[in-house]
Symmetry: C2
Subunit: 87 residues, 2 copies
Amino acid sequence: MFVILVYDVGVKRVGKVLKTARRYLTWVQNSVLEGDISETNFKKLKAELLMKIVPGEDSLIFYTFRTKNYSKREEYGLKKGGEDIFL
Amino acid sequence: MFVILVYDVGVKRVGKVLKTARRYLTWVQNSVLEGDISETNFKKLKAELLMKIVPGEDSLIFYTFRTKNYSKREEYGLKKGGEDIFL
């Protein structure tokens, strides 16, 4: 499955959240990671991140896609992250 | 089509980029907007934003999806933006 993670977390936690997320996904832009991972790893990632955030202050959004057949990714301007072509 | 826009732009331009993007999409989190828009409006949004960014400094990523049938959105923690259920 393909996953896009966007997060908005307190400055004290952003390092830990990024470090954890980077074990599963590729950083592509400020507070945005993406990548193809297994269902099992997605569950692990979610569980680990949920232990690191403060629900009343931080926000995580996961967009998951079982196929990329109907999707497209367009990047403009400065290329920040590592993922070149995911679609 | 469903669009997720993530952006990372210079502080001098972020207001203009957000204001433009909000005419087409819903703000859901810091530097993240999403929503269902027509192909025509997507082209307009792209054109307008490309005129506002400095390609050597700013970064825009558009994820577009012709269907949401194979996708899911999960939001955890503080609900920041306006979009409740898009899937």
